[in-house]
């Protein structure tokens, strides 16, 4: 199916294929990705699970990596200014438009976590795939990950071995290029060895309010007993367009906690896929999304229980204000072999404007009897009784509304166990709630 869009992607890929060939993930993998994309095309708004995403910008987008053109004058200063304060005890690695920026980063670690820039690895690793080959059925949609694979300019390859203390890494992806100059392709390939432990902060931001087009891909393999605490913060400029794909596979007794907070971008779509492949593997997914103005925040999360005694806890809290659209589709599949599994889902959406849209959808597919599942999904307005109670105590209407929205997000924010990160995220959210002028009028 060669739609005009896929034809254009192929054309743009052809023109940069030679430049990219030497870099990971390697020419062979890139070719394979392009072949698959030519067959499947990128998702369209009529596809199942894509109707809430904003896919229109793709029609105009340039897929050529922005990193291949020299940066504009003054770009460095804008990038430096965009960096948040450092987190204590975290190694920091910065990527600008998808390319490692050594001058802004710590030296590659020598401890339990080995961090390498994918570009630096060159041809050597071309022989064998560093990431499991993408699967299409079943599993979360990998098509944007394929796009990333075809065009990626660089990325972080992280290998973690067991150590007494969990390794702590912060990856900052700064988007500085305007979309017409090209796209950026942040990429992370994570491997946690047996009992390896990692606290990872993955943060996406913009320099100088750039209207960038960002397509990121993260893959994580957790070996037996590994533990990953993954903080994902999306704070791109309100003009950016972002697609991200995350695929994680957990072996026996591995534990994965994902805390995702998205408040940036004009339109963002997250596609998350977690495979609980080993017995007693467990995942806790806590996602918060804040949409204001005309923002679109859309997420799809698929969790597959493939082995016995696996556990899921999924929490989503989304606020949609003004004319924003916020959607979360949480699908949990419990396979026939996954007896003794336990899955809990709590999805809540808050509608904070008469023209805002919110959609929270739980989906359960269960192929075994021996399973415990509880799920709840609600979408509605702020509770009038709560608001009146606070007003009756003298609180300003604005403060009362903010407190209630705050409380609504609390279930997710409270899971952030890195104090400075939590403070930074809270400050950003408080700011976002404050300037949402349309937000406050319409709550009652």
């Amino acid at each position: 199916m060669a739609s005009p869009l896929t034809a254009r992607i192929a054309e743009q890929h052809a023109s940069v294929a030679r430049t990219l060939a030497a870099r990971l993930p390697g020419a062979a993998r890139r070719r394979l990705a392009m072949e698959t994309l030519a067959r499947t095309g990128l998702p369209g708004s009529r596809d199942e699970n894509w109707k809430y995403a904003n896919l229109r910008p793709l029609e105009r987008a340039s897929f050529t990596p922005a990193a291949l053109t020299p940066p504009a004058a003054g770009a460095d200063a804008a990038v430096a200014a965009a960096l948040p304060p450092r987190l204590a005890d975290f190694m920091r690695y910065v990527f600008v438009d998808g390319v490692f920026a050594p001058l802004l980063s710590d030296a590659p670690g020598t401890g339990a976590a080995r961090v390498t820039s994918l570009a630096a690895r060159g041809d050597a690793a071309d022989a064998g795939p560093a990431v499991p080959a993408p699967r299409h059925e079943p599993g979360a949609d990998q098509r944007f990950a394929l796009l990333n694979e075809a065009f990626a300019t660089d990325g972080a390859a992280i290998e973690v071995t067991a150590a007494p203390e969990a390794a702590r890494l912060e990856l900052l992806f700064v988007a500085s290029a305007e979309a017409q100059l090209g796209a950026s392709y942040p990429r992370v390939e994570l491997k946690l060895g047996p009992a390896g432990r990692l606290v990872l902060v993955e943060r996406h931001l913009s320099a100088a309010g750039a209207a960038s087009f960002v397509t990121s891909a993260v893959s994580a393999e957790l070996a037996r007993g590994a533990a990953l605490d993954h903080y994902r913060v999306q704070e791109l400029s309100s003009r950016a367009i972002a697609f991200d794909t995350l695929a994680a596979t957990l072996a026996q007794e591995a534990s994965y906690r994902l805390h995702a907070v998205g408040s940036g971008a004009a339109a963002c779509r997250s596609t998350l896929g977690v495979r609980l492949a080993g017995e007693h593997a467990r995942v806790a997914l806590a996602v918060a999304a804040l949409g204001d103005r005309t923002q679109v925040q859309d997420a799809y999360a698929l969790i597959e229980h493939l082995a016995p005694h696996t556990r899921t806890a999924q929490t989503f809290r989304g606020i949609s204000a003004a004319r924003a659209r916020v959607a979360f589709n949480g699908k949990i599949v419990v396979a026939r072999d996954a007896h003794g599994s336990d899955s809990r889902q709590s999805l809540r959406g808050l509608l904070a404007g008469p023209e805002a849209e919110i959609d929270v959808r739980p989906q359960l597919e269960i192929y075994t009897d021996d399973v415990r599942c509880s799920h709840g999904a609600t979408a509605g307005k702020l509770d009038d009784n709560m608001l009146f109670y606070l007003l009756s105590r003298g609180l300003e209407r604005d403060s009362a509304l903010r407190a209630l929205k705050w409380a609504f997000l609390e279930d997710v924010i409270a899971t952030i166990e890195v104090p400075e990160l939590r403070r930074q995220v809270e400050e950003r959210l408080a700011g976002a709630m404050q300037d949402g002028a349309a937000l406050r009028e319409e709550l009652i």
């Binding site: 109670y389 606070l390 009756s392 105590r393 009652i444």
Partner: protein
């Protein structure tokens, strides 16, 4: 003749409808500064409606009559303005607000009220001292401070928490809607002590209750009986005792 002082609260011929249904039917009531009035009356007679109208809850339409508070038109004020002007409603059903903690609410409320009185924000140290002292009066454990507002509180704990808020805010006019319902004997005494500690010549209190027991501890100056949206009878504290003995039919019959 001596000139009467401006009453704390003067309600005249108040008519209120909710969802098109008329609930208050020309209610008239006056509370002088320093007085405690009790309002009794059968279920559904309009006691909570009156309390909510005084606090400014949306959804109540005042179709006739007036309410003046310290000489000001109370109905013209937004709920938060009323609170800042010194009106406090103790809810019959206090609302649970998970995620907003008690101490945040107490501090935000106190600062809002102080600001309206021209006072600076409370110092963090003084605030904790004040709250601790009032919590001791209400016998509420300090661990409640960090919990969500009323979240998971028992019925009695919620009511004590209402009075704690009242003690911290020191309102001029407290409207307590069945604060005594659901309290055990000890808690009733604690709540009564809390209310009495605020009694002063500049403060007034409107106590809605079904039971004469509370009135043994918080002795009212006047007792009113509300029947079908108006005051059917008023008297001194002995009226409460008589009501307990003879039931509401006795007054309802007369009012009909």
């Amino acid at each position: 003749m001596t000139r009467a002082a401006t009453p704390m609260l003067a309600i005249r011929d108040l008519v209120v409808t909710v969802d098109g249904k008329q609930i208050l039917n020309g209610l008239t009531l006056e509370v002088a500064a320093g007085e405690v009035h009790a309002i009794m009356g059968p279920n559904g007679s309009g006691k909570s409606t009156l309390a909510h109208v005084l606090a400014g809850r949306p959804g109540y339409e005042v179709t006739a009559g007036s309410v003046s508070y310290q000489g000001r038109d109370l109905l013209a004020l937004a709920p938060e303005e009323r609170a800042r002007a010194g009106v406090f409603l103790g809810f019959q059903y206090p609302v649970e607000i998970p995620g907003v903690n008690n101490v945040y609410l107490l501090k935000a409320a106190l600062n809002a009220v102080r600001k309206a009185r021209g006072l600076p924000e409370v110092d963090a140290f003084d605030f904790l001292g004040l709250v601790r002292e009032k919590m001791q009066v209400m016998q509420i454990d300090e661990s409640f401070l960090s919990r969500g507002v009323n979240e998971g509180f028992s019925g009695g704990e919620k009511k004590r928490n209402e009075i704690l808020q009242m003690l911290v805010l020191e309102p001029r006019l407290a409207v307590l809607d069945e604060t005594d319902s659901g309290l055990d004997i000890d808690a009733l005494k604690i709540v009564a002590a809390g209310v009495n500690s605020l009694r002063s010549p500049e403060r007034s209190c409107l106590v809605v209750t079904h039971y004469q027991r509370l009135l043994e501890y918080v002795v009212p100056d006047v007792v009113h009986v509300l029947v079908r949206g108006r005051i059917a009878r008023s008297g001194d504290r002995t009226l409460a005792i008589e009501l307990e003995r003879r039931g509401y039919d006795w007054v309802s019959g007369e009012a009909a």
